[in-house]
Amino acid sequence: MERSIDVVERERMAKMATPTTSNALLLHLRRRLGDWPLFVLLVAPNLLLLAVFTYWPLVYNAYLSLMQWDLISPSKLFVGLENYRFLLEDSEFREVSRNTVVFTVGTVGGTVVLGLLFALLLDQPLRGIALARGVVFAPYVLSGAAVAVFWVNMLNPRFGVVAEVASWLGTVSPDWLNHPRLAMVAVILVYIWKNVGFTTIVYLAGLQRIPKELYEAATVDGAGMLERFRFVTMPQLGPITLFLVVVSTISSFQAFDLIKVLTDGGPVNATTTLLFYIWEQGFVAFNAGRAAAAAVVLFALLAVISLLQVRIGERRVSYD
């Protein structure tokens, strides 16, 4: 794939290798070891960090999922697969799973579809488009906690702006964040508001990479705007769409601060997602074992999704 510069380096060292100086031994050592020390120096710290902060925790987490433990007492009780059985039978866990699916489908679908739409609009040669690009992207860099706080303000049924707008339109704004069904809708909408900038900007970068000649050829062949979109743009954006769906799915599984501040998982459990459930089980109810078991389930889900990406990605034709 890439030519290595090792060859050049080795030739150079071969020239220098005549042991006339006192550091002949050093040279000899260098030639035997080659670039191994540098390679290890460059890569090893990363592998060490990953081992300590990713692999050990994963193993330990799997071990915890077989225990009953309240995070405080010195001894843990081995309970086998009891925690997993609990999850299977827990009605709350079923509700949480359903919420997670709704949240993920809503946020991924929303950000990807809206992102594509915005990208197509922003790709046009219009005045002021650079400003609009910046505006669409901006919320993505804001803290989820901060975004949630000011949306709580906006959605407040008594003195929020949304309620005010509703009253101009002659209706009454519901209490979004305390409504058993609308709470989830509100959380999804705020999430899309914050994250659609990322999908938009990635799609825009994708549009930039589509060769102009393809459009010209299609136009020559008599393709209209819709046909160009259907037969040139869409296939060319295929790999990016796949990438965005996977990345967005993973980040929607990780949405925590937004939900914590907006609804705290409520009302009752209406906006409790799998991730939020893990937090509640572990650090509100002090069931480290159950939290760990739920974390194992979450991890397995994400692993499957990522594997699917690799599999599907292999079959796609890259447009390079």
Binding site: I5, L42, P45, V136, A146, N153, L207, Y215, Q254, L298
Partner: protein, 341 residues
């Protein structure tokens, strides 16, 4: 990388342009209005908030600095300490992440070493044995030394001539990048226990280390694509001129990859600045960061929007400036490593 912006070849029809402006104008309003609201609320007196919305400063209400005075002067250190924590942790962890990430990415993209799968598995085996030993009460120094020693012996002896499949750099890179899919919450309990044992809970170093580990895969992912764009010929000619590996890295590769490094730094910095979950577990009072402060204050001061608005403005001000720079970089394909992967 020439970063000339290019728009789509088709000029929209007048009708298309109007529709585009309507949609984009609507979204611009939806994005900017909450931010505008935030800014004016920070200058409102309680009475201007509680009696229904007021919109235009000076016309609707008289702006006041009372909330700013309260947050910055009356609360003083309760605001400034978390702010300083966020700055220190964000900057330190981002610099370290960039250093480790760039080193690993460069190593993996320029050196072609291959490790026998059998050797890697052997190493893993002894690592697990050492971990089990520590669990069973063995002093960790002894366990690590013993594990390494046993591995070296086995490697030198039995496995010397063993063949089998090899692991290439691409495998290591893929393995590192794949960590990005792992949600921190799935591993946060063990990390909490780890820092608890080390006595590092509620300290800045703990947050820094955790953020470096969490963001490293992202740095490798973003930088990998960028290092590929640096022509190898430059490095080769430097090598022929007698520069050694370290000089090549310092004098040629790093200066050439500066835009990529800057973009990656900004991206990681924003992630560290906003990070909530790990901070929630690993810090309480001393090392509290701004996202935690905002969330906590929301619980206690919920309806006191004027105070909350000031806090949020303090927190999001710096990253809004970064957003403008970042957007350019990302939209021009600088940070798209994995898309083509």
């Amino acid at each position: 990388m020439a970063l000339r912006w290019r728009t789509s070849p088709t000029t929209p029809t007048p009708l298309g342009a109007i529709i585009s402006y309507l949609i984009l104008g609507f979204w611009t309003f939806v994005v900017l209005f909450p931010l505008y609201w935030l800014v004016i609320t920070a200058f409102k007196l309680p009475v201007h908030v509680n009696e229904g919305p007021t919109y235009i400063p000076f016309a609707d209400f008289q702006p006041s600095l009372h909330a700013w005075r309260y947050i910055l002067v009356d609360l003083g250190n309760d605001t400034l300490r978390p702010y300083l924590n966020t700055v220190v942790v964000g900057v330190t962890s981002s610099i370290l992440t960039l250093m480790f990430g760039a080193a690993a990415t460069y190593g993996l993209s320029r050196f072609t070493y291959r490790v026998r799968l059998a050797t890697a598995l052997l190493f893993l085996g002894f690592a697990v044995l050492a971990a089990v030993g520590i669990q069973l009460g063995l002093p960790w120094q002894l366990a690590v030394a013993g594990g390494l020693g046993a591995f070296a012996l086995a490697r030198a002896g039995a496995l010397r001539r063993v063949g089998g499949p090899r692991l290439g750099n691409a495998d290591i890179a893929f393995w590192m990048i794949s960590q990005r899919m792992l949600p921190p919450v799935a591993i946060v309990i063990p990390i909490y226990i780890l820092f608890q044992r080390l006595g590092m809970l509620d300290t800045r170093p703990a947050l820094v280390v955790a953020y470096v580990a969490a963001n490293l895969p992202i740095a490798v992912w973003l930088l990998r694509d960028y290092f590929r764009t640096i022509p190898l010929e430059l490095e080769e000619s430097a090598a022929i001129d007698g520069a050694n590996r370290y000089q090549i890295l310092w004098r040629i590769v790093l200066p050439l990859s500066l835009p990529g490094l800057v973009a990656t730094f900004l991206f990681i910095f924003v992630l560290a600045w906003n990070e909530y979950l790990l901070a929630l577990f690993l810090s309480s009072a001393k090392a509290q960061t701004m996202p935690l402060l905002v969330a906590a204050q929301n619980a206690t001061r919920g309806p006191q929007w004027w105070y909350m608005s000031v806090l949020i403005l303090l927190m999001i001000g710096p990253v809004i400036a970064l957003a403008i720079v970042l957007e350019r970089y990302i939209a021009r394909g600088l940070l798209l490593g994995a898309v083509r992967g």
